[in-house]
Amino acid sequence: MMTAHRFALMLATLAALAQPAWCQEVGTVAAVEGAAEIGRNGTFAAANLGVPVSQGDELRTGQPGRLRVVFQDDSVISLSDDSTVTIDQQIFNAAAGTSHSLMQLLKGKVNALVSEYYHRSGAAYEIKTKTAVAGVRGTEFAMTYNPQDEVTEVVGITGVVQVHSAADPTGPGVLLTADEATSVAPGQLPTSPHRLEDSIFRQQLQGIEFIGAGRPESLANNHPLVAGTGVPPPDRAGAVAPATDTAANLGQKHDASSLVGDSPDVVKKMTGQLGIPLGK
């Protein structure tokens, strides 16, 4: 029996498929560092801050290169160096409670932060590689895929991640909780979860927590002074005093005689000689 949620999801999927994939804007680049590009219809362009991401896009980073995308469903993915991800499907309708997200990790490492919309029943968030499928409901996890040996590694950061072999998506999978990891080799089932040492766990997060290292948001960035579009009043031509280059400074302001309006020392010299009887 088809539930109302599944029916809504089906309608949303049909609606999504009815439009060309390139016109469905599903997310926005929130942070970028180094080389990062978005491929659409075979053409790649720089993934600059604020650039929209559409369904069907391929996201790739260079070495070094990091990229964070915020999706319309508030979930976030962060790509590490030398990684490629395709956005295969992003269906989201907050009113109807529909959330369905499917991505493929072709190489490298991705960190996924899944929003609360995926707590609802019927919602699905999956990231696939050639050898594994990781699915979650409200969690954060990291996934690494090496196309050379085709091994996928999944690390749970918070919540629960369900990992299956791509060769047998309906077969037995494993549940990962925080700090646990599993790996999936080609044609194999996921290994039993093992707990990661704290230092190794931290390594998984390194570099993707603070993509851009605050540079684009810095107060110095685009500062009018740096850009030359504004000069603070104290540094303008009318306000800056030039070097004074005469001895005029020397005692000028407090020279009593000149303030009186007489020639320096004149009064005293003159009266000193004329007004007072000389000697004894």
């Binding site: 948001e217 800056v240 400074n249 303030l259």
Partner: protein
């Protein structure tokens, strides 16, 4: 059994999620905030960053974004508080050090900003901007040389801030008087960005520099009226006044002064100036006190960073009515150390030789050596200041051997005018609205004369003078060329020899012109 294991795992997950939820939530909110931030919807971004910080107060990245959003909205005090918290948690985060430094510069807390900007310099990507703001902070603190070095570093570190750093190199040069270098820097800014704000300001600087370089002369003059209560410095004691046949002492006089300065040579560091001053006083009644002075002078002056220095040579030739009265030569080397906007220190030595041409005054021919130091402290601006100074001088008579031989006076007569003088003065200067400035000075002078000045009325003690002098002056700049000054001088000389005990007040009104 299987169900209970799943339930246990689920419970563990919930507990784990409960402790980590805030951080995850703050990351989600921060990421959404970044989208708003880069779409220039800073207020909306701030709202999201605030929620992120509330969700996890320990999320220092969220706090950093919160700070920069506040800074972009002009709330630098709040940004500073956030950035301090970020740096306390992550002292190695040079980006936060840079932003805190920038925010402190924006709020004029230059001294606090400097160490943070130095920290940011160590990160290669931040070095250029950090050096620019560090230089700016140093410039505002009048540490101009250090500032220039950082502007040079900023210019070398990248295109982003190169032109602004070049502009500020020009400003530093201008403040230190390196005109050619300043001109070159401003010209570069104008060439590359003539229509920008710094391009326009650079053009304004260039105009000022060229106008200053073209003007190699200055002329000035003044017309004044003075009322002097004691033109002749008559003793206060009536009996002594009578015995010396002094009956008139108060008079009014008009004064005329005029002069000019010409700079035949100058370089970036040194200049030579030639001057000439003329002065004439015309008394209403005591016309035999009319004085005329012709004073050619020459000065070589220069500057190196905050230190200015020079030596002045001047010759004065005085006439009393139309008779030769006195010729005087003065040499005055000086040095002034400018302590930025704090104040300045002046040190000078003066050697003066007086040679009276009128026979009756030859007894006062002398050398006078004076060493002086004065400290001026600005109260926020050079126009508002207090100062204190001290001068020691020694009067050393040089009597004419010929006149001694002819019996006009004795060596002892001349030596009676030898003295050591100590003078302390303190003053305040203040600028008022409507281009009015006021100065008030008090000086105390103590002169201890040689033994030859022994006073029979004071147990043959040598003469000792204690002089108190007050000056109050109000000056108003009427326009670019003219000013008017009203002043009062009170002089009270208390001597143990009643012949030299006197008081005197002068009021004056002077109209000055300068071009």
């Amino acid at each position: 059994m299987r169900r209970s294991v799943i339930a246990f795992v689920a419970l563990c997950c919930l507990l784990a999620a409960g402790t980590a939820r805030a951080s995850e939530q703050s990351q989600l909110l921060s990421s959404r905030g970044l989208v708003e931030f880069h779409a220039d919807r800073i207020a909306k971004a701030l709202e999201l960053f605030e929620q992120a910080v509330a969700a996890d107060p320990q999320d220092m990245y969220a706090r950093y974004y919160h700070a920069t959003a506040r800074g972009r909205l002009g709330d630098f005090d709040s940004a500073i508080a956030d950035l301090r918290a970020v740096l306390a948690a992550m002292p190695y985060l040079d980006q936060a050090a840079l932003d805190l430094g920038v925010a402190l510069i924006q709020t004029h807390k230059y001294r606090e900003a400097l160490p943070l900007l130095r920290q940011a310099q160590r990160t290669s990507d931040l070095d250029g901007e950090a050096s620019l703001f560090l230089g700016l902070g140093q410039l505002r603190l009048d540490r101009i040389r250090e500032g220039r070095r950082n502007f040079q570093r900023a210019a070398a570190k990248g295109e982003n801030q190169r032109l602004t750093a070049t502009y500020y190199e020009g400003v530093a040069d201008y403040q230190e008087g390196y005109w050619a270098s300043a001109e070159a820097h401003f010209a570069e800014v104008i060439k590359e960005s003539p229509d920008s704000a710094i391009g326009r300001e650079a053009a304004a600087f260039l105009t000022k520099i060229r106008r200053g370089q073209q003007q190699r002369y200055q002329v000035y003059g003044a017309l004044g009226f003075q009322y002097d209560s004691n033109v002749v410095l008559a003793p206060s004691d009536e009996a002594i006044k009578s015995s010396n046949d002094i009956s008139k002492q108060a008079d009014g006089r008009g004064t005329i002064s005029a002069g000019g300065l010409y700079i035949p040579w100058r370089s970036d560091h040194l200049q030579l100036s030639l001057g000439y001053d003329f002065y004439q006083s015309l008394h209403f009644k005591l016309s035999d006190f009319n004085l005329e002075d012709h004073g050619p002078s020459m000065q070589l002056s220069g500057h190196t960073g905050p230190i200015q220095y020079g030596v002045i040579g001047r010759y004065d030739y005085y006439l009393l009515e139309s008779d030769s009265f006195l010729q005087e030569g003065t040499v005055l080397p000086w040095i002034a150390i400018l302590d930025g906007r704090v104040g300045r220190t002046e040190v000078s030595y003066r050697m003066r030789r007086r040679d009276f041409k009128k026979l009756s005054f030859d007894v006062r021919d002398s050398f006078n050596h004076a060493a002086a130091v004065r400290e001026t402290i600005y109260l926020g601006a050079p126009e508002r200041s207090v100062s204190i100074g001290y001068q020691f001088d020694r009067e050393d008579p040089v009597p004419s051997a010929r006149l001694e031989h002819e019996g006009v006076f004795t060596e002892s007569d001349a030596r009676s005018f030898a003295y050591d003088g100590h003078e302390l003065d303190a003053g305040v200067g203040w600028a008022f609205p409507y281009a009015v400035t006021a100065d008030a000075t008090y000086a105390f002078r103590y002169e201890l004369y040689a033994a030859e000045s022994e006073n029979p009325l004071d147990n043959l003690q040598p003469r000792k003078d204690k002089e108190h002098q007050f000056v109050i002056a109000l000056r108003k700049q009427l326009n670019e060329w003219f000013d008017v000054t009203a002043a009062f001088l009170g002089d009270f000389n208390n001597s143990n020899d009643p012949r030299f005990k006197y008081d005197r007040q002068i009021v004056s009104l002077t109209l000055g012109v300068r071009y």
